[in-house]
Amino acid sequence: MDLDWFPFWLSLRVAALSTLIATVGGVWLAYLLANRSFHGKDALDAAVTLPLVLPPTVLGYYLLVVIGRESWFGRAWEAVTGAPLVFTWQAAVLAAVLHSAPLLIKSARAALESVDHDYERAARTLGASEWRLFLRVTLPLASRSILAAVGLAFARALGDFGVTIMVAGNIPGRTQTVAVAIYDAVESGNGTAARALVLAVSALALGILWLANRLQARQAAR
């Protein structure tokens, strides 16, 4: 019997795109949390951690409220693209972002904070603006740890089930990601497909973790 690898490739694409979005936004948020003091910082910190502890169905519900066909965002999307956002693979990307960004923000923040403050202070006394100091000193010094965090976020994005099924559904060949496909395969008694996908996802996740650990070990050795 021919195995359907579509869910695997879809998941890779969804995870890659969501990791890109989570990295750009997450490193920026991590920078704010690590370096700036502002009103509502504690609230922001709590808000970005919340997805780690909430049930995925709750996250999915919130996401539906925000991007559903009745919401202003959903309507704007529909007006621009001509089709609703919910139950598309793009919605799965958003689900994966929500699922993986908190981990990335937490790790990136720790990475930025672990950079010796004397380097940042030195850069300031040398006249470097906060922006230049971040790009030229803090970020390069934390780059390995951040890369490791990105790897972890990718692995986590790959594995989202709950949020995805709420907002993207389970449409074979369109929105069925690997985690959903495995559930589907087990439910319908298709053991061969389930085993193949399970092994593929496990091997990929293991590889990413190994890489992330190596990056972190080398950062620590510097």
């Binding site: 004397d118 202070r121 300031r124 006394t125 040398l126 006249g127 470097a128 010094l141």
Partner: protein, 357 residues
């Protein structure tokens, strides 16, 4: 020219007691040393000047530029303060070559001029050959020169050095002192140096501020401070002297002499201006100037006080004897060997060497 007046309170926290930084000083071109024990607030003072820490109150002014003013709320960020800072660990960026480190400091300059300035600085501090290396590939001396060169490239109006000699061995320390003299002679900037090493104060300091528990307790040239410590606190901080209490028995302004009573013994001393008969005074004397002889067959008197040897400490200059009454004396090593293991000694104070606080 920098003038500093800062006040900052630190609340007690786990692992630290409450602490108040409250000090004021000015520093012109040349090296001003902030000397004091660890925890006195020396580094905190540098951090207030550089803008890493915001004082509660006070005023900091550098060459007419107001860096901080508690009343009007002015508090410039470190970027705008023109203070070069040399960190204890040098803080050269580990992911950049030495040349890139220097380029980073000169980035506001147009490219050609930047290149010229960086080259000039590399030559001045003998770093040309290692400019392409990364900090972890440099020797300790090269790192310290590189970090000073980098600070100077940002064209600072003053240079702050935070215990740069801490943990260095003697040759590296001598090398560092050369570098700091080079800065003093070549750049005519106020240099403020933090140290707890008195020898460093003498090697480098044009002026010295003695810092203790967040306050400045004495300022002057290193020589004048060692010659006349302002208080018992300063004398103890310097750690140089034998200190003991005595009672003034008589004063003779004509002969410029005085007589003191220490326990049951009398000592001759120079005239003590400003003291009166019957005063309890703290006397100080350098152990190097104090003589010691075994008591056997000798008599007390003649400015001698009996004392029991507690322990001996080998010193580069000779053998230091420490007595149970807290006094110390230094004798040449051969003499000490000849006298053997006697424990009862007489300490002899040359009258001219005794000073009163």
């Amino acid at each position: 020219m920098i003038s500093v007046r800062v006040r900052k309170q630190f609340a007690a926290a786990p692992g630290s007691v409450a602490f108040t930084l409250d000090l004021e000083f000015t520093a012109g071109p040349g090296v001003t040393v902030l000397f004091g024990p660890s925890g006195a607030g020396k580094t905190l003072t540098l951090e207030c000047i550089a803008g890493f820490l915001r004082p509660d109150a006070g005023r900091i002014e550098l060459d007419g530029l107001l860096l901080f003013d508690g009343v009007s709320g002015v508090c410039l960020p470190p970027q705008e303060r023109h203070c070069g800072y040399v960190f204890q660990n040098y803080a050269l960026f580990p992911h950049m070559s030495l040349r890139s480190n220097l380029d980073f400091a000169a980035e506001r300059l147009p490219r050609l001029e930047r290149h010229r300035k960086v080259q000039e600085m590399l030559d001045r501090f003998h770093l040309e050959e290692v400019a392409g290396r990364f900090p972890h590939e440099l020797s300790g001396g090269q790192r310290q020169r590189g970090s000073v060169a980098r600070a100077l490239l940002a064209a600072p109006k003053m240079v702050l050095l935070d215990e740069p000699a801490r943990g260095l061995d003697a040759p590296l320390r001598a090398e560092l002192h050369e570098v700091i003299r080079e800065v003093r002679e070549g750049f005519q900037l106020p240099v403020v140096l933090v140290t707890h090493d008195l020898e460093e104060c003498f090697a480098l300091g044009d002026r010295m501020q003695v810092v203790c528990e967040g306050r400045i307790v004495q300022s002057g040239t290193p020589e004048s401070i060692v010659e006349q410590p302002a208080s018992l606190e300063v004398a103890r901080l310097l750690g140089l002297y034998d200190l003991f209490q005595a009672e003034v028995r008589s004063l003779d302004p004509g002969a410029r002499t005085s007589r003191l009573r220490v326990g049951e013994y009398e000592l001759a001393a120079p005239y003590l201006p400003g003291k009166f008969k019957g005063d309890r005074v703290w006397m100080y004397v350098l152990p190097e100037r104090v003589k010691a002889v075994p008591r056997e067959g000798q008599r007390a008197g003649a400015n001698r006080i009996p004392a029991t040897l507690e322990r001996t400490v080998e010193r580069p200059q000779g053998m230091r004897l420490e007595f149970t009454n807290g006094l110390r004396a230094e004798v040449p090593r051969e003499e000490f060997a000849a006298w053997g293991s006697t424990r009862e000694w007489l300490i002899e104070f040359p009258p001219g060497e005794l000073r009163a606080l």
